[in-house]
Subunit: 305 residues, 2 copies
C-alpha cells in the first residue's frame, strides 16, 4: 500500500465542498470532481479540476475519495448502491467529511473494510468562510495509520486532528454542535439581560470581547442578534438535526445533558413556529417570545424570504 496519495476524487461540491475542493487544487493535488447538480462541479474546472460526469467515473482509479454530502443516507446510497465503493482503486481511503451519525460512520467503515477499502470520518466546523480560507476544524475518526496517510491532504483544507477510532470524528462534530448551540443560548440570554436592564447590548458585546466570555459565537452570532439578521448561515433545521443526533448519541451512552435538552427544545419550538429556515442565532427570538416584550435592539428582523 502506497502512503502517497496520487489521485483524489471529490464527491459533492456544494456550498462547503466547492471551496474545500478548491483548496486541494490550489495546493497542487490532482482532483476529479463530481456533483449531483453538475454545473457546481464544472465550475471547478477553471481551478484545475477534472469534471466527471458520474460519481463512478470520478472515483475510477482514485486512491482517495472525499465525500461532502447532505447526510448519511446520501453517502451510503452513493457508496454502496451507486457502486462508488467498488469503483475506486483497491485499498483506497474514503474520507467522509459530511456530518452523519457516529453509528452510520462506523457502519460505512465496516462495509468498506469488507470491500478492501479504508474509511475515515472527518466532519468539519468553520462554515463557508473557513472552507474558503482552508482553516476548517477537521475532526477525524478511524485508525491512526489511515489517518496519517490522508493527513497531508486534509491539511490543505484546515486543521485535521485524529480524535479516536471510527465514528469519533462524528462524535467530535456533535460535541462541537452542542457547544455551538448552547453558546448561542448563552449569548442570547446575556444580551437580553443587558438590554432589559437598560445597557446598550451592542456596546456590551463589544466590551465582553477580550474577556473570558470571548468566543466565535459571541463574535459572529452575537453580531447577528444585534443586527437581528436571521438569514442563514446555519439554518435551524440543520442545527435541530444535529442536536437530535447528539441526543441520540447521549441516550446510547445513557447520558443526561441538561443544557443540550434546553436548546434542543428551543430549536424544536422555533421549527414549530415556522422558523426552521432561520439562522440558528434566531434562538434569540425564542427567548424573546418567552419574555415578551423584552427585546435586543430596535432593528427590524431580517428574515429569509
Amino acid at each position: 500500500m502506497s502512503t502517497h496519495i496520487q489521485q483524489i476524487a471529490f464527491l459533492g461540491t456544494g456550498l462547503m465542498g466547492a471551496p474545500m475542493a478548491r483548496c486541494l487544487l490550489h495546493a497542487g493535488f490532482p482532483v476529479r470532481v463530481w456533483n449531483r447538480t453538475g454545473s457546481k462541479a464544472a465550475a471547478l474546472v477553471e481551478d484545475g479540476a477534472v469534471h466527471a460526469a458520474s460519481a463512478v467515473t470520478a472515483v475510477a482509479g482514485a486512491d482517495l475519495v472525499i465525500t461532502m454530502l447532505e447526510n448519511g443516507s446520501v453517502v451510503g446510497e452513493l457508496l454502496f448502491d451507486g457502486g462508488v465503493a467498488r469503483a475506486a482503486r483497491n485499498g483506497a481511503v474514503f474520507v467522509d467529511m459530511s456530518s452523519v451519525p457516529p453509528e452510520i460512520a462506523q457502519l460505512h467503515a465496516t462495509m468498506l473494510l469488507e470491500l478492501g477499502q479504508h474509511h475515515i470520518d472527518a466532519p468539519v466546523s468553520g462554515g463557508t468562510a473557513g472552507a474558503a480560507a482552508g482553516t476548517l476544524a477537521i475532526m477525524a475518526g478511524g485508525d491512526a495509520e489511515t489517518f496519517q496517510r490522508v493527513e497531508p491532504v486534509l491539511r490543505a483544507m484546515g486543521r485535521p486532528v485524529h480524535v479516536g477510532p471510527s465514528g469519533s470524528g462524528q462524535l467530535a462534530k456533535l460535541a462541537n454542535q452542542v457547544i455551538v448551540a448552547v453558546s448561542i443560548g448563552a449569548v442570547a440570554e446575556a444580551l437580553l439581560l443587558a438590554a432589559a436592564g437598560g445597557a446598550d447590548p451592542a456596546a456590551v458585546r463589544e466590551a465582553l470581547r477580550g474577556g473570558f466570555a470571548e468566543s466565535r459565537i459571541l463574535e459572529l452570532h452575537g453580531q447577528r442578534m444585534l443586527d437581528r439578521d436571521f438569514v442563514p448561515g446555519g439554518a435551524i433545521r440543520n442545527q435541530l438535526k444535529d442536536l437530535d443526533t447528539a441526543l441520540a448519541a447521549a441516550s446510547n451512552a445513557k447520558l443526561k445533558l441538561p443544557m443540550l435538552e434546553v436548546v434542543r427544545a428551543a430549536f424544536a419550538g422555533l421549527k414549530d413556529t415556522g422558523a426552521a429556515g432561520y439562522d440558528h442565532s434566531a434562538l434569540l427570538l425564542w427567548l424573546e417570545q418567552l419574555n415578551a416584550p423584552a427585546r435586543v435592539g430596535d432593528a427590524p428582523d431580517r428574515l429569509p424570504s
Copy 2:
C-alpha cells in the same frame, strides 16, 4: 473641571488590584495605594506607588479614586461610612471596578453625586493574567462625559467600553458571567459526550479549536476539565454569587433565562456537596455525578487543599 487626571488613589490591591495598579504605574500615572492588609499595597512602592496608611489619606486631593474590593458592601462602607467619598478632591471621579449588583452601583452613583462627586461602575473580566498583561475587558457604566475623562487611565489596564448609564457596567459583567457559566456547562457536556462515546476528549478539544466552538472557555476551562484541575482560578462560591445577582437582575426585569437557571442549580448543588472552593470548571463534576460512571479522562482530580 479639569479633564486631565492628576492624582489617582487605588483602594484594594489584592489579587486583581495589585497588577492593575502596577499597569497604571508603568504607564506613568501617579498612584497612591491603600489596602486593608497593608503589606499588599506596600509591595507596590518599588513600582513607584506611594503607600498610604489609610484610605482617607490615600484619596486626599485625588481627582480619580479607583476601588477594587470584595463586594458592594465593602465599597459602600469605605466610601460613605469610612469618609473616603468626602476626602477626595471635589468633583473627583470614583471608578468602582469591583463586581457589585447594578442597583448598588446606581445607589453609590446617586450618593456620590449628592456629595459633588462622579461615579463610573467599571467591573472587569480576564482574571489575574489579563490584569497583569493590561488586557482586561472593562465594562463601564455612567455618564459619557465622565467616562471620557477617565478612559485614558482605564486604557492602561485593558479595553474600556462605555456600555450605558450608571449600573450598566455591572449589568455587562453579569452578562459576561452568564456566558462564562453557561459556556462551562456547554464544554462539560460536549467533552462528556465525546468521552462516553469512545473518542479521546483531549483530542476532541484540540480538534474543535479553530471551528465555531472556539472560545476562551474551551481553551482554558476545557483544558482544566481534561487535567481535572479544580484548584481555583475562579471559585464556585464567587461564580454562584454572580449568578444569583444575575438571576436577581433578571427577576427585576421580569426575565426568565432557562440556561442560566440550569447552571445556577448546578453550582448550588456543587456548593452543597462541599465544592464551593473548587474552580468553576468543576461544573464537570456535577455533570459526572448526574451521569455516573461516565467520566472525562483518567487523571486523578486535583482539588484545592
